[in-house]
Symmetry: C2
Subunit: 404 residues, 2 copies
């Protein structure tokens, strides 16, 4: 007897869930590697910078008998180091404003769920970090894109353009700053615009600031938590993944001065018990890293950015604006379909058994059709490797244009 | 100008989200400790058994330069050890059937989201692991309880009783086996009943089997993945937290032979990038733990269970059935409101500066009113400490009954 009223099927959200544009081509890369091809990974923001030895030693030096659950909000000793870190960054927060999460990913998921119910809407400047869409779908939330353009450095549009996207179901504006995948760093007037919108339309501002240290011009990114008069509606998402080249630690946090919001964070946090214990103990060793570390890393990424831009500029038909922060660049390619081209590079192209993997741009947009000729390039390789990778890209483009 | 159509507020799900019954009394415990009181934690399933040195050494011996993201499905080397582990446990699965998760928690969250959309329903035998409710609320899913009773050892009711709970929105049956908080181990006929229901009503069976090794009678728990003919609708949730006393590692997994389901798992997994890398490397060292380890641990917990039951039996008015698995026991107490009593124990009672923390039973039921005079006791302390803790509980009950 089969129940006439239903069939065995997965949820609609499972079906809608996009495969990561950063990772969905991984099987092609694996096949290329199996054929002996070396793949330059420009697709994923996995820095090659060494994780500071202080953090590695944090793992090596653990001295415990029982690997226990920690507090759902995170280990107090680690949170204290975060308070210090934020104070040094000019962001005055207290221990109670912070909940440690399993990566910035969990911080985004928790924040979305705390301010949105299924059917609610969140404004997100596009192109955006693609996993925002994944978490939105999992939460039943609709992402409404605020389209920004390569040609204007992915600056926010004027107020009117944003206002007309607001509906009674709009609950928040979610954005990364410095921007992934755009490399944009919002100016003071742009941040003031976001504040104005949050005040006038009772929206939460969720700022993903995991690239805070990666800014290459004479601008300091304005933290969403530095905005005055909107303390009840600002939320910051953060992570040590990029800051300390420690992506695999999965240690992030969510920070807000809104007490009710933080109470919700704690309840969500209790459901999953705690973030990983040893990784927090290792992360708290970051307090011992000298400030010069960021200067060195920033200089290294600036060099890479400059090399990448110089090399890309040599390829006919490739278009981009120089990113000011993070370590990504959106490039328009002289192809119809950048995803097809990315697969071509992995499946059919190589130079001396080397090829390049890029992330197709379409996955970073919610508006259908946008980003189709774009790719995101992460400059997370050494300059020499970047030069080589761009040369391969150039050769690949030429081969592709001649019909592969 | 205030948008007339909406106010600044948190989501309904954030407001509905329950505080963990296991953890919500933590502030009372912290205050007690601040007053110099030693608290015996019977509230939380945090074993005091030492984490095997093989796993601890897994952390100590890491030898990497860059703490990278791993594969979204988990590290291949770790998954291989899981395949071996399951084969030894009589569960034949392949690498592609497994996705490593950040704790069993994430496995539950992912499984619920993959089979349910907002408004869908999941049957769960109650009392149940309280965080099922949290994850259901976060996912917009309704938990429909199948009530089971202490007096019948929390056995499943007959088929008719379950069938009348099924609606067109019922998508799955979620259960833990061995049971948290009940200590019940489902019999072969009970598992066959679940299989029958899954077949007839096209439901997924999600079996949370994190206590597989903790069974104290001559029964072997039947894995949901061992059921024949329902391979397309069975999902297993697992974790190393209890198995290896490694709760803080946050390493679990979700296992299914349904390919579409596993594709959805991977897409969810890609959204959060990867489970923690070093913790997986440490967890894979568990392959080196000799099989005798489980025998020792099982014997220890069996002793504790027997001591706990013997001591509890001495308290007038305390009622329970001897649990057959896991390391929890639901006890009915001679009080009106076990939560009030639990707070009393932390706030106002002590014997020679020692007191006891238990988890109020009401949080483990979805049906209002049930579990009100019950508590969950985790027997995760050494026998001597258990004897002492139950003596304090007994004295506390007497004091409470005399009006505190």
């Amino acid at each position: 007897m089969i129940n006439p009223e239903q069939e065995l099927r997965l949820s609609v959200r499972a079906q809608l869930m996009p495969a990561s544009p950063i990772r969905r081509l991984v099987p092609y890369a694996e096949q290329a590697k199996a054929r002996g091809i070396k793949v330059y990974h420009l697709n994923i923001g996995q820095p090659d910078i060494e994780t500071p030895v202080q953090i590695i030693n944090g793992y090596r030096q653990i001295d415990i008998k029982v690997l226990e659950y920690g507090h759902s909000a995170g280990l107090k000793s680690y949170i204290r180091t975060l308070v210090d870190y934020y104070h040094r960054a000019g962001i005055a927060v207290e221990e109670g404003n912070i909940l440690v999460t399993t990566g910035g990913s969990e911080a985004i998921a928790f924040a979305l769920q705390a301010v949105c119910d299924p059917g609610d809407e969140v404004l997100v400047p596009e192109p955006f970090y693609t996993n925002y869409l994944g978490f939105a779908i999992m939460a039943g939330v609709k992402i409404v894109p605020i389209t920004t353009f390569r040609t204007s450095g992915f600056a926010l549009p004027g107020k009117d353009e944003i206002v007309r996207l607001i509906t009674p179901r709009t609950r928040a504006i979610l954005f990364s700053n410095p921007g992934n995948p755009t490399g944009a760093v919002y100016t003071e007037p742009e941040m003031m615009l976001l504040k104005e919108l949050a005040l006038e339309y009772n929206l939460f501002l969720i700022g993903d600031e995991v690239y805070r240290e990666f800014v290459y011009e004479e601008v300091k990114p304005v933290s969403v938590l530095s905005l005055q008069g909107v303390e009840d509606r600002t939320v910051m998402v953060d992570s040590i993944s990029k800051r300390y080249s420690a992506c695999g630690a999965r240690i992030g946090c969510v920070v807000s001065r809104n007490r009710d919001f933080m109470t919700a964070m704690l309840k969500f946090g209790q459901a999953r018990l705690c973030p990983p214990t040893i990784d927090q103990l290792a992360a708290q060793e970051a307090a011992k890293i000298p400030p010069a570390y960021f200067e060195q890393v920033r200089n290294e990424y600036r060099r890479r950015r400059d090399v990448l831009c110089a090399e890309l500029a040599k390829i006919p038909g490739v278009e981009f604006t120089t990113p000011r922060g993070a370590f990504y660049l959106i490039a328009g390619l002289p192809v119809d379909d950048a995803e097809r081209f990315a697969i071509f590079m992995l499946e059919r192209f190589h130079v001396n058994n080397e090829t390049v993997m890029v992330a197709p741009g379409n996955g970073f947009y919610a508006t259908p059709g946008l980003g189709r000729n774009e790719v995101r390039i992460a400059y997370v390789l050494e300059c020499e490797a970047l030069v080589r990778a761009v040369a391969i890209l150039k050769a690949g483009l030429a081969a592709y244009q001649q019909g592969g």
